[in-house]
Amino acid sequence: MSNPDPHDAAAKAQQRWAKAEPGAEPLKPKPASAGRRQAAPSTTADGLYEKHQKVHNQRIDGPFRRFKWLVMIVTLTIYYVTPWIRWDRGPYAPDQAVLVDLANRRFYMFGIEIWPHEFYFVAGLLIMAGIGLFLVTSAVGRAWCGYACPQTVWTDVFQHVDRLFDGDRNARIRLDRAPWGPSKIARRLAKWAVYMLIAFATGGAWILYFADAPTLFRDFFALEAAPVAYATVAILTATTFTLGGFMREQVCIYMCPWPRIQAAMLDEKSLIVTYKDWRGEKRGSLKKAQKNPGEYGDCIDCMKCVAVCPTGIDIREGQQIGCITCALCIDACDKVMAEIGRPRGLIDYATLEDCEREAAGGPTRPAWKALIRPRTFIYLGVWSAIGLAMLFALGVRNHTDLTVSPDRNPPFMPLSDGSVRNAYTLKLRNMESRPRQMEIRLEGLPGGVMWTDTIPQGDAARSHVLDVAPDLTRTVRAYVSAPSGVSEQNFSFVLTSQDEQAEQDSSETLFNAPGGN
């Protein structure tokens, strides 16, 4: 990270500001409180703490804003529609496509069903999500922050609610400063009511992932749902209302660890949103620039980039933790450049390396070329490898399983005819959504026979066929006896499903006998 330029720019800008505006001009924005806040002498009086300066971002249109709309629509659609998608799994399993069934300890995702013992698949997904973020960060910087993070999406929604109720930036600032009166109170209550509705819809949709959505939806409003459903909705409604409605960029700047982690992962080859100070400086109004051609840069100091910023920062101060790289300032600046007849891209996606080259008079490189570098491909490779390995593992996994645990107290039992009996707890797992018959057979242990808690001793044999209900583990208590004089030895239970798959599993265990230890 070797880029002194934005710092210099900021320092210059600051010196200039200090001269130009000693007083508080009404609509002049104060860049919000990222680390690089301007220290205006008048506000340092209260020293250690700082009032939350509300961000009133201006409406803007442009390619990046439209992309942001698209991402918002896609992510919100996924969030709200997913629980309602049905997926036929036959009569013995739920028909919800995505369901985290905590009560029955099953995780359904379309054609995939995960049992608790296969939680490593979820761990794998989390690892993929982590490496996916590395990948995205190395390629396009903090794109997650700027477009897809729920905090960003919901803040965007809430900011549009603000705009709907109170008008655009200037109107909102005026209303904020206006004294409280009936009309302001009414407006605020109405706006907060809408906040609350959105927050409730957010928390309400979350629980639908954990139970059958249509049933839960009906039960919820009939006041018949589980208390934990109401508690979850209440908590998520409260957090959405607070974090989306009021905390907004404060979450990114002060609460979220991710900006710090991402900042550490960015390097001079990462795409970031950046102000090309060598082109913009020295700033001056259009009039001044026209009066003194050659003395001023392209930046006309219109403050549009600050006005549209959802986190209230000044991108011209360089990379900073408050910048979520949503690129709305690019939209704003491009518009202004078009109006004053200058080339677009005074603020643009670029790598710091590109910036240095351009500043030194080198050619401009298209932003997409920043994606092609070893780091990006290595992340992509690792990410894909984990994904493929998991898909492979999912494809070949066994849908039956046998575990055997021998009784340890007592380890063996002499019977009246002198034979020796051992008892075992068998778990027969059927991961298919249909009832199956499974044969359980003894391998080894000459003369040994087996009966169970449901098969009487009179029917003892070397093998039995048992019914296992769909999508369940059946616990069977098995008794194995061997003739008098048997010695301690290993043997195996072998499980074979009685269907065309003929899936097999076996488990070796110990037959205890007198004198064994």
């Binding site: 320092a11 220290a39 905390m247 039992m413 002499p414 009246s416 005819d417 098969i455 583990t473």
Partner: protein, 308 residues
Amino acid sequence: MANDPNTQKRVDEPTGTEFVGHEWDGIEELNTPLPRWWLWTFYATIAWALAYTVAYPAWPMLSQATEGLIGWTSRGQLMDEMSAADAARQTTKEQLAAVDIVKWQDNPELMQKAVAGGAAAFKVNCVQCHGSGAAGSAGYPNLNDDDWLWGGDLEAIEFTIQHGVRWDGSRQSRFSLMPGFDGIFSDAEVNAIVGHVLSFTDAGQSSERGAELYANNCLACHGPAGGGDRMQGAPALNDAIWLYGNQPGDVRAQILNPRHGVMPGWKDRLDPVTIKMLAAYVHSLGGGEVLPVAEEAEAATVGGDEQP
């Protein structure tokens, strides 16, 4: 801490932030302000902590801590949880009370609950003599095996638990009394009997004298081939299971000075449902016998003790 903050008001050039005035080896602290809401959050946690320690037992006093305004105690919470657990089991207990133990075998789900309840009760009331695995020890019957002194079906086990063995507290208690033969038989006679008894399991040498003595003194209770008699609680002598040991010396000692174990009856100490559950548990240990009347019903039973 070289600088006095009052005399110096310097600003860090790159960030535009004022210095606090603290310096350590050239590293200076900037006055980056904390957001005000963070401070309020901090105050809120203090207020919460104060309210919490007033509402709950917390402040140490001379003899004990303050009791807290809402009267919470960990013991009280335990009692609540215990009674909640009891209430949760109530339906099952009512079901078990309503259905006769003979019918339990037809209802695997009920049987499973009964066995689980019995296992818990066994750990509290029975392990002291019968051992935690119910395998007993010399003089304390093993409940896992297939040898029963008084019968191994559900009803017989339930009756034994209710009334005990040789127990003064119940007139219906199982009662058997093997007479002692000390001073009646000579050494040689006792050895002959021991030989005959052990010959049932091919562990000893029978003799004419031994067979005759056995027929005259033992056969009435233990049967001609040592098969025992459950009506009288006379143990079988022709199997591999010996309550007091299978060595010639053990058998000899039991003929001369027989020991008579006592098991208390539980009908006055445990409720009927618990006793039934205990019977179900003991029956489930591996040696349980099918009730004669329920034999046909048993054949029709389909197992189903799946769990997720």
